[in-house]
């Protein structure tokens, strides 16, 4: 179930969002999906991320959960099924125990390609279990967020409640004196950012990642202003004091492992 790199850009050539050049797809896989010309970080799937971040064979996923349809929202079941088939994931988060350069941790990776990485009951519950198990086993938590709009509209108020639920799990873990490294990748917005993702002891971001609460389109429509250059990018967040550091993808595993080591 876990081995296919299903998120790789389709086709032989891919257009880079950073510099508009065409990039040879095979080339991308070698660079960790960084544009060889401009360094633009392509969005990658949970399994690809896993492969880049954790020690090979060290990941043990939690028992899988599947979304219910608490509001009887029309078409939700089909949407879930479709997303499952397309991504090979049960829902938008891949959660389990792993080792990063020989240090154990609990790990969660939110995958954008599963309904925009939105947080419904399953993502919420899996994240809560991740922090709960980490608290019980006195382990650090590493979460790679990249969850689009954040809310899973089809679960309405249940989606909203996952914000409280995950924040509380983070809070308990933190009060036990344990480390939470939150890694924000493109895009981390809405209810995902405004809950667990913002609350890392150390908050890192990939270059160029979109980070914020309200989406840029909504901000532009509401304020009828031109958005400032680089609005809501990782660089913008760093300048405004919201994150600790920007770490390019190739250095991420090494950087995180050092943090884990120093907080053992």
């Amino acid at each position: 179930m876990m081995m296919n790199l299903e998120e790789a850009p389709e086709g032989l050539w891919t257009r880079c969002d950073g510099c508009a050049q065409m990039v040879f797809s095979k080339e991308l896989e070698k660079t960790g999906f960084l544009c060889p010309t401009c360094g633009h970080h392509f969005r990658i799937g949970a399994f690809q991320r896993l492969a880049m971040l954790v020690d090979e064979g060290s990941f043990t996923p939690f028992p899988p959960l599947v979304a219910a349809n608490p509001l009887d929202f029309p078409g939700y079941e089909q949407k879930i099924k479709q997303a499952q088939e397309q991504t090979g994931l049960d829902d938008a988060a891949l959660v389990g125990k792993a080792a990063i350069q020989n240090t154990d941790c609990m790990l969660a990776i939110v995958d954008f390609s599963f309904m925009g990485g939105s947080m419904g009951s399953v993502v919420g519950e899996q994240l809560v279990r991740c922090f709960e198990r980490a608290t019980a086993e006195r382990l650090p938590v590493v979460v790679v967020s990249g969850g689009g709009g954040g809310a899973r509209m089809q679960e309405g108020v249940f989606s909203l409640m996952q914000m409280a639920k995950t924040v509380q799990a983070v809070g308990r873990h933190s009060r036990a004196g344990l480390l939470f490294v939150s890694i924000l990748t493109h895009p981390t917005m809405g209810g995902v950012y405004a809950s667990f993702a913002a609350l890392g002891d150390i908050v890192l971001a990939e270059p160029g990642a979109l980070i914020g609460f309200a989406g840029p389109r909504i901000v532009a429509e509401t304020t009828r202003e031109k958005l400032p250059e680089g609005f809501q990018t990782a660089e913008f967040a760093l300048e405004h004091g919201l994150i600790d550091a920007i770490v390019p993808r190739p250095q991420l595993a090494q950087y995180v492992s050092r943090l884990l080591e120093w907080h053992r």
């Binding site: 509001l71 009951s121 909203l160 409280a164 609005f231």
Partner: protein
């Protein structure tokens, strides 16, 4: 208050009431006694009103929640408490007028009160940013709640906002982080918290004031992850279909009670809270009295445990069956 157009569904009622008024004026001018007929008509009007409000659609309730004459947080504070001192500022950047807070006396007992504040007119709405908070608002709210914790007094929050403000400066100053921190702070606060959703309860901006031991909700309020208009615009690229979205979102107090999201529904005067501020205030006061008595007895650590347990169980999913794996 300025005159406000009646809602579409109220129009038959408003017309009937107008007729009765005219009839009364005519009788009094003509010195005729139609009192029995008038009493009959008034009974009919009352029945009609009951029927109309008993069968409101979810979206009609959303519109009621936004009625421009609906009481605001400062109105409720005046109506529910005996005295109030407002405290300002986040101690970092600004005082956000979109959120008000301070200490009030509730039946002799000091409590901390926090809530968003919509304006009554254009000028006030600009000063209060239409009740849409910036990060400073949430930081002020959290500061006041921490103060309540220090002095061991309960917290009452009122909730009535369609969401946190989606603005450039709000994002610059960490809207998402401020909301997350407010949720975190409330979650572990060692004093009783009651939240009353009085109007709109939209998205994380509302939840940030709603992590309480008891969540109460006025009859014509709504609470969801997204406004019906935004939901419709995402689903069908047509915000005009908000009524349909409102039905899908199950954002009414009845549904939320069933889901275990809220603990009780506070009935409003027939026709909505805006028709009788004083009565609405009395209702809220009675509900706060009852629930505060209930949770005040619980020891602080226990209270926090129960609060966490309350949210821990919210969510619906199933284990993946073996055959699926």
């Amino acid at each position: 208050m300025s005159r406000v157009q009646p809602f579409e569904w109220e129009k038959p009622l408003v017309e009937l009431e107008e007729r009765i008024k005219e009839l009364k004026r005519f009788c009094s001018r003509a010195k005729l006694d139609f009192s029995e007929e008038i009493a009959n008509l008034e009974r009919k009007a009352w029945t009609l009103r009951r029927e109309i409000y008993a069968s409101l659609t979810p979206y009609q309730r959303v519109l009621m929640a936004r009625h421009p004459h609906r009481p605001t947080t400062l109105d409720y504070i005046r109506l529910v408490f005996d005295d109030f001192v407002e405290f300002h500022g986040d101690r970092t950047f600004r005082d956000d007028g979109a959120i008000v807070g301070g200490v009030a006396l509730f039946e002799g007992q000091p409590v901390t009160v926090v809530g968003p504040q919509k304006g009554r007119d254009t000028k006030e709405n600009v000063a209060r940013n239409f009740g849409l908070p910036h990060p400073e608002g949430y930081r002020k709210a959290l500061r006041l709640m921490k103060q309540a914790e220090k002095f061991g007094r309960p917290v009452i929050t009122f909730i009535d906002l369609v969401g946190a403000y989606p603005g450039v400066e709000a994002e610059e100053r960490g809207q998402g982080l401020a909301i997350a921190q407010c949720i975190e702070g409330m979650s572990f606060l060692k004093v009783p918290i009651i939240s009353v959703i009085t109007g709109e309860g939209g998205s994380g901006g509302a939840l940030a004031l709603g992590v309480a031991d008891r969540v109460l909700m006025l009859e014509n309020a709504w609470y969801s992850v997204i406004s019906p208009e935004m939901c419709a615009s995402i689903l069908w690229r047509d915000s005009a279909r908000a009524a349909e979205a409102a039905a899908l979102l199950r954002l009414s107090p009845t549904d939320l009670l069933k889901f275990g999201i809220i603990d009780d529904v506070i009935t409003e005067p027939l026709g909505g809270a805006h028709r009788d501020h004083a009565f609405t205030g009395m209702q809220i006061r009675a509900f706060i009295r009852r629930y505060l008595a209930e949770i005040k007895r619980i020891a602080p650590e226990r209270l926090v445990e129960e609060r966490l347990a309350r949210f821990r169980k919210l969510g619906q999913f199933r284990e993946k069956r073996l055959a699926e794996i």
